[in-house]
């Protein structure tokens, strides 16, 4: 229900209450007043009657009393004969006549029965005559006559008749009086009752009306309060949203000061009055404002216009002015009420946005890629110029999901799947697929789609670009081709190398074997018949062939190290060293060697290769220390900088550090073959083996002061830092082979 309806209903109710109360109260008052008036009339009339009756009764009593006075005077005179006693009689005679006359008047008025009054007059006359007769007799000194007359009882009889007559009339009057009194009493009681009842009724009505009115007053108060608050809120709202709230007359003239306008523009009341407000508006905008006003006021419609307004500080601001006409009941415009809002920031933001939009469009239209923007649901709402140029399509064809017509039907399902997956998840995607050009040729495009998300992470728009990767693809293909060719070449070269190795192992060894074998056969067959020189030469041939065989074998091992895959297992280096020493036992024959073996780790490595490396190192140590007695060979390990470093140290011939680099090269030897035999391949193999395990090799030494060979392995390969402990110092003595073993910790 609307507040207006409620108010009118309340008003109607109030009117009904007031009317009802008024009518009821007025009716009750009228009835009450009528009753009181009537009762008053009755009382008045009865009172008059009462007074009359009282007067009549008085007359009657005075009549009786006067007669008695006359009789008393007569009797006194008769008894005394003195004239003095006759005086009441004389006075009574004078008074009696008007009394009678009065009674006759009353009788004429109907207040007394006229028959009785005339009877009374007659009796009175008779009495008076009797009295006068006696008095006259007395005056004549005829006392006895007078007394006889008195004794005749005639006077007494008349007197009794008069009394009876008077008493009768008085009694009637008294009865009448009493009846009137009773009437007055009754009327008064009725009046009181009526008065009391109406008063009570009116009081009740008043109370009811009071409560009704008070209730409505309270309601009105509440409604007024609500309205006041609403108004306050409205005012705050207007003041918060608008810089100026204004009012003009129907012509647009300012006829009352507008404080907010003055505050904003710095104009005074006088300056703004009339059309003075126009002066604060930018001159270029004034005609537009005038026109807007003219149109709006003519149509009695909303006045709305934007203009530049000079603020009090001289700054020009963009203002949006709006006003609505307030109409009189006859439809004429009474006034215009409106606001001025500062929209400068908005306009500037819009201008910036337009500029940015323009920049974006220019950029998007000038770039070589195809670009587009899609709604969160995937329907595309914008393409750059390049898209239309490339595909030769029209904006109408491209609407929504129209882009599909530029796709290759074969790749379209995959594209749709990816696109729909991205729409569902909000994830960006990259994809290469063909797009048909205006010339009907499909070219591969790298498509990159990025979502623009709001703060809640919801996709607002999708941005997509399609980059022609034809050239790239070609280049890639060319590159791939080149890589393939290179790989093939490499594979071929590797194969050749393998074939070479293969050939070496077969074909190089075979003639050697033949030389060696036939020399051996020759020696057996004809040896005894040869002279010493020839026998020595035959021996040289045999040895040369043997060394050549060793060289070839070592070379093959070296080449295999590089090619074979690592068969990694857990290797206990301590046990590996012990095995190597056993294997090298023949080389140690007849020597005294002090072994000092420290803790060695367990590592993850190719056991056979690592063994080969260790054998090589130990073999070298044994070989180059053979001129020492006792020879000392030390092994150990330590952890350093992400590696485990192992070393083999001997007190042998050593080497010149200047040639340290050459040590690990193939066929590099630092000693004459006469001194120490060897192929010059062993350390090269060690280096290859360690490199294949991700480690390094190096050496330290000095001529005749021993050498230290180091190799490292990545710490990741270490399973357990300390290997099996040797525990006891044991000295092994076998014929011609003395070995000291010492545990170093």
């Amino acid at each position: 229900m609307k507040p207006g309806d409620q108010r009118s209903k309340t008003d109607r109710k109030t009117a009904t209450v007031v009317t009802t109360v008024f009518l009821a109260s007025a009716g009750a008052l009228a009835v009450s007043t009528g009753l009181v008036y009537w009762v008053g009339l009755v009382a008045l009339k009865s009172n008059k009657e009462l007074a009359l009756q009282r007067e009549v009764i008085e007359h009657l009593e005075r009549m009786a009393s006067t007669l008695k006075d006359a009789e008393t005077g007569q009797r006194g005179y008769l008894l005394t004969g003195e004239m003095r006693y006759l005086e009441p009689y004389v006075r009574a005679l004078q008074e009696i006549k008007p009394e009678i006359a009065q009674l006759n008047v009353l009788a004429a008025q109907g207040e007394l029965p006229s028959r009785q009054v005339s009877e009374l007059g007659r009796l009175n006359d008779e009495k008076l005559a009797e009295l006068a007769e006696t008095v006259d007799l007395m005056r004549e000194d005829n006392l006895p006559g007078a007394l006889n007359l008195v004794r005749s009882n005639r006077g007494k009889e008349v007197m009794d008749a008069i009394h009876a007559d008077l008493a009768g009339m008085e009694a009637a009057k008294v009865a009448q009086f009493q009846a009137a009194s009773a009437r007055i009493e009754q009327a008064t009681r009725r009046r009181n009752l009526a008065f009391f009842t109406t008063t009570l009724f009116n009081l009740g009505l008043l109370f009811w009306a009071y409560s009704q009115i008070m209730r409505q007053v309270r309601e009105r108060e509440a409604a007024r309060e609500q309205m006041r608050r609403g108004e306050q809120r409205y005012r705050s709202f207007v003041e918060a949203s608008a810089q100026v709230v204004w009012r003009t007359n129907s012509q647009g003239e300012v006829d009352q000061p507008i404080p907010s306008w003055n505050r904003f523009t710095g104009q005074s009341d006088q300056e703004a009055a009339g059309f003075g407000w126009m002066k604060a508006i930018h001159p270029e905008d004034r005609p537009r404002v005038t026109e807007a006003w003219r149109v709006a006021s003519a149509a009695r419609q909303l006045y709305q216009v934007e203009y530049r307004l000079e603020r009090h500080d001289g700054r020009w601001l963009h203002i949006l002015a709006r006003g609505v006409p307030v109409l009189e009941s006859d439809g004429r415009v009474r006034e215009y009420i409106g606001t001025c809002i500062d929209v400068t920031d908005q306009r500037q933001a819009e201008a910036t946005l337009r500029e940015s939009e323009l920049r974006f469009r220019t950029l998007a239209d000038s770039m070589p890629q195809l670009a587009w923007i899609a709604q969160p649901d995937g329907s595309i709402i914008w393409y750059n110029r390049r898209w239309y140029e490339y595909t030769g399509t029209t904006p109408e064809q491209m609407e929504g999901w129209g882009w599909q017509r530029a796709h290759d039907p074969h790749s379209l399902p995959a594209v749709l799947e990816r696109w729909k997956a991205s729409i569902a998840t909000g994830q960006p995607f990259d994809m290469v697929f063909p797009l048909r050009g205006a010339d009907g040729v499909f070219r591969p495009f790298l498509t990159r789609v990025m979502p623009l998300k709001d703060e809640q992470g919801r996709v607002i728009q999708w941005f997509g670009t399609n980059t022609d990767v034809t050239d790239q693809k070609r280049a890639e293909e060319a590159l791939e081709l080149r890589v393939e060719q290179r790989t093939a070449e490499l594979v071929a070269a590797n194969k050749e190398l393998e074939a070479f190795g293969y050939s070496v192992s077969h074909d190089l060894r075979a003639p050697l074997r033949h030389v060696s074998s036939y020399i051996s056969l020759l020696e057996k067959g004809t040896g005894p018949s040869l002279d010493d020189k020839s026998r020595r030469q035959v021996q040289i041939i045999a040895e040369a062939a043997k060394r050549m065989g060793g060289l070839i074998d070592d070379l093959l091992v070296l080449s295999r190290i590089g090619r074979a895959s690592l068969a990694e297992t857990n290797v206990d280096l301590r046990r590996l060293v012990d095995d190597a020493r056993k294997e090298l036992a023949p080389e140690m024959a007849g020597r005294t060697i002090e072994w000092r073996i420290g803790a060695l780790p367990q590592v993850r490595a190719d056991a056979a290769l690592l063994r080969s490396a260790v054998v090589n190192l130990l073999s070298n140590a044994i070989k180059y220390s053979r001129r020492r007695d006792p020879a000392r060979i030390e092994l150990g390990s330590r952890e350093h900088d992400g590696e485990v470093v192992l070393f083999v140290k001997d007190n042998g011939a050593g080497f010149d550090m200047r040639f340290a680099d050459k040590l690990f090269g193939v066929f590099q030897r630092l000693h004459d073959r006469d001194e120490f035999e060897g192929t010059g391949i062993g350390l090269a193999s060690v280096r290859r083996i360690i490199q294949r395990h991700g480690g390094r090799t190096w050496a330290e030494g000095a001529v005749e002061q021993g050498a230290s060979f180091y190799f490292s392995l990545p710490i990741e390969r270490v399973i357990q830092m300390k290997g099996a402990e040797c525990g006891v110092r044991n000295q092994e003595t076998s014929p011609g082979n003395q070995t000291k073993l010492e545990e170093v910790t």
Binding site: Y502, S505, R509, R513, S516, I519, S520, A545, K546, L556
Partner: protein, 166 residues
Amino acid sequence: MNDLRRILLAEDDPNDADLTMTALEQRHLANAVDVVKNGAEALDYLFRKGAYAERPPEMPAVVLLDIKMPKVDGLEVLRQIRADPGLRCLPVVMLTSSREEGDLLRSYELGVNAYVVKPVEFDAFVHAVSDLGGFWAVINEPPPGFAQKPAAGPKPESSTHPRPTP
């Protein structure tokens, strides 16, 4: 020694063939050696085709194969022997100069019975060849119905000669 079964030696190098024969001779095993010069001839011999079509059907006690031969190499011969139901159980020994891991692996994959690298020194060569020839031709018991003349001897598993390992 006439009751010894024959040995087939496939060797392209006449010197090697000569040396092998010499080694076998020194062990008195050479009287029953047939020599072919390449893999193709070895297959002809074994399948009794071409020049060997008229050969008696007796199968050799052992085949000594060089790996590297012209036309058909030793590995191919081995493959065909193992693929043929009649020859599948024939003992084959690779007798080669190669220490190549690849050859060794391939040979064992194809089911070679032994793999011998010919030593450079003649004495060692003689030992290797004669031991092999002796073992396979004399000691080894062929599968039932394979050889025409069974001979008593220990099983290969209990052989005193270790099988070479890669």
